[in-house]
């Protein structure tokens, strides 16, 4: 089953998400009753100390790790009901989600352009069109002149730009980023954060960024704090109407 996303619906809505690892004495509650709504065109930060459950939450809403309970809707399409998938998760990720990680995770044997192109071809975009779109995206992100370079020949910041281009390749409803600036210096880190804001505002994707970097918080529309698996109230100064926790 593959639902079509509604362009007017929020990028993501999560209801009462819980994630429990282990059982009995070894049971760990990683995410506890988290509800979250991110609109399209909105860029949101998830803050919190290590072990707070940020990445676990990101993996759950990214349909990589199944929650123990709760519901997830992406673009108005119900995708998870507890641990039960309501859609083909791989296909849904392919078409509607984009990911960026702390490390760029580029495929080392593909050039910058091919790293973007592969995401498009996986989504059945014909090779020639995929190539053109990949080049367009790299140009949009200021990487056109590095399109032929292998990842090993790119700086950390450049690699992250390529990773962002790959995440945007299929016009996702939602882009999820896990500490994407952790391996970058402050200047390049800020550039990447600004890139996410640009992507959200210009391309209409919802962007959720897990970060420790408080210096770039001004880039985000809202910032949530996570602690012990719970999502705390957002930074009031940045909260917009219609957004709930």
């Amino acid at each position: 089953m593959m639902g079509e996303v509604d362009c007017g619906a929020p990028a993501i809505e999560a209801f009462g998400l819980r994630k429990v690892y282990g059982s009995g004495d070894t049971e760990v509650l990683a995410v506890s009753d988290v509800s979250l709504r991110v609109e399209r065109g909105e860029v949101v930060a998830l803050l919190g100390p290590s072990g707070a459950g940020k990445t676990t939450l990101l993996l759950a809403i990214g349909l990589i790790s199944r929650p123990t309970s709760g519901r997830i809707e992406i673009g108005g399409v119900p995708v998870m009901d507890g641990a039960r998938p309501l859609v083909n998760l791989a296909a849904f990720r392919r078409r509607h989600l984009g990911f960026v990680f702390q490390k760029a995770n580029l495929i080392p044997f593909l050039s910058a352009r091919e790293n973007v192109q592969v995401a498009l071809e996986i989504n059945d975009v014909p090779a020639r069109l995929a190539r053109r779109r990949a080049l367009d995206l790299l140009e949009y992100l200021g990487m056109a002149d590095r399109a032929r370079y292998l990842p090993e020949a790119l700086s950390g910041g450049q690699q992250q730009r390529v990773a962002v281009a790959r995440a945007l390749a299929n016009g996702p409803s939602l882009v999820l980023a896990d500490e994407p600036t952790a391996a970058l210096d402050s200047q390049r880190g800020r550039q990447v954060m600004e890139l996410f804001a640009k992507v959200a505002h210009e391309r209409g994707a919802g962007v959720v960024v897990v970060t420790h970097d408080h210096r770039s918080l001004d880039v985000f529309d809202r910032a949530f704090e996570m602690e012990d698996g719970r999502l705390c109230a957002p930074d009031s100064t940045r909260q917009r109407p219609g957004v709930t926790t």
Partner: protein, 403 residues
């Protein structure tokens, strides 16, 4: 976009080394099959080249290729008298080992039925067939003898007048063709002292008998050459080969010979079967077993190589899965690389074999059918070998990207 090719291009050196390793392994598999074929060809070469329809051998034996066979040389005359027989020739064949020019020389002495058979049927690459009844020979090139060179065997020296190529005996030793009488002389050559002792012994035995005392002429002959003693048997040969007239049923003529109690007759097909089921059989089976083991070993090694290559790509595979790649993309990546390694290894094995196999001490025959069969086996090996890697890839979780 072909991910397998791009990965290979990026890791060209390692991939090339892997392909070379697999290629060498497959070359051994290919060579083993070639040795197997060579063994059969060497075993049946002489019988096929002689092309006789029937082989007459010592009664109750399986012929000179399986055991000692001794029949009187004049049996060829008896054979010629059988209806349907076009020609009959003595067959003398034995292996000798001598020192020549300071090195070991193993040679199959092969008799030709001079004057009818001068070796015109031999595949000569230099020189000519035998031109006289004695002291000439045709040597196979593998013996290392040169045209015009003289080889001393027994009391006589034989001049090489012709050279053949690829004429080897069942054990892979080069063939030397002599007139049948020269071949017999080489076979039965004994030192002069031994001859003198034998003559004295014969005379002593004759003197002890009544017949020796009443017939002084017999005593004189006993002390002379063996050929001068009428009571002694005529020269012995290993077999007599028979060629039939055109259109004659070999089974019918063989049935006639089969009524002779002192000999056993085999058709060409039976002689070939005796060779293959006799002396070659164990070697053939051993080679077949060894070949099968090598194929299993190749499969295991290739599987481990593909598995290792897959392990190296676990992170990339996880990423591909994370961005929603279908299983067939990941399976294709691994399977295509496995097939490419197999194909490159096979090509390399063939190419290397072309240079290496002629240097092998035994004949290596690589036939088209065997090449095709091996290609099929390599294809199967590549697919089977990739299963381990595919299994690993399928078990990779997308979340591994974060690890």
């Amino acid at each position: 976009m072909n991910l397998a090719i791009r990965d290979i291009r990026h890791n060209g050196g390692r991939f090339a080394l892997t392909a070379v390793g697999v290629g060498l392994l497959l070359m051994i598999v290919m060579g083993m099959g070639g040795i197997y074929r060579g063994l059969i060809r060497e075993a049946t070469l002489l019988v096929d080249k002689i092309g006789a329809d029937l082989w007459i051998v010592q009664g109750g034996t399986r012929g000179p290729f399986a055991e000692v066979s001794r029949i009187p040389a004049d049996l060829e005359d008896r054979a010629r008298g059988v209806p349907g027989v076009a020609s009959a020739q003595r067959f003398v064949s034995h292996t000798i080992q001598r020192e020549h020019r300071g090195r070991r020389l193993r040679l199959v002495v092969q008799g030709l039925g001079w004057p009818e058979d001068r070796g015109d049927w031999l595949p000569l690459v230099a020189g000519r067939p035998l031109g006289q009844a004695h002291y000439e020979m045709i040597a196979d090139r593998s013996l290392g003898l040169a045209l015009g060179e003289e080889l001393k065997l027994g009391k006589d020296a034989y001049r090489v007048v012709g050279l053949t190529k690829g004429m080897t005996g069942t054990a892979g030793d080069g063939l030397g063709f002599f007139s049948a009488s020269d071949a017999a002389a080489i076979q039965f050559d004994v030192p002069g002292e031994a001859t003198r002792l034998e003559r004295q012994a014969r005379r002593a035995r004759a003197e002890a008998l009544d017949v020796g005392q009443v017939s002084p002429l017999l005593l004189e002959r006993a002390a002379g050459p063996a050929s001068g003693i009428p009571a002694l048997a005529p020269p012995r040969v290993s077999a007599v080969t028979v060629t039939l007239q055109a259109g004659v049923d070999a089974a019918r003529v063989a049935a006639t010979f089969a009524t002779w109690p002192d000999i056993t007759v085999y058709t060409h097909r039976q002689q070939v079967d005796l060779l293959l089921s006799g002396m070659v059989d164990r070697s053939r089976r051993q080679l077949g077993l060894f070949r099968a083991l090598l194929i299993v070993i190749s499969t295991i090694i290739m599987a481990l190589i593909i598995y290792t290559l897959t392990l190296d790509k676990v992170h990339d595979i996880a990423l591909l899965k994370l961005i929603g790649a279908r299983n067939r993309v990941v399976v294709g990546l691994i399977l295509q690389q496995s097939l490419l390694i197999g194909a490159l290894g096979y090509g390399l094995a063939y190419w290397l074999g072309k240079f290496a196999f002629p240097l092998f001490p035994r004949l290596v025959v690589v036939e088209q059918g065997d090449l095709l069969a091996l290609a099929g086996i390599v294809l199967a090996i590549s697919v089977v070998a990739s299963l381990l890697g595919i299994g690993k890839a399928m078990s990779v979780e997308p979340g591994k990207v974060l690890a």
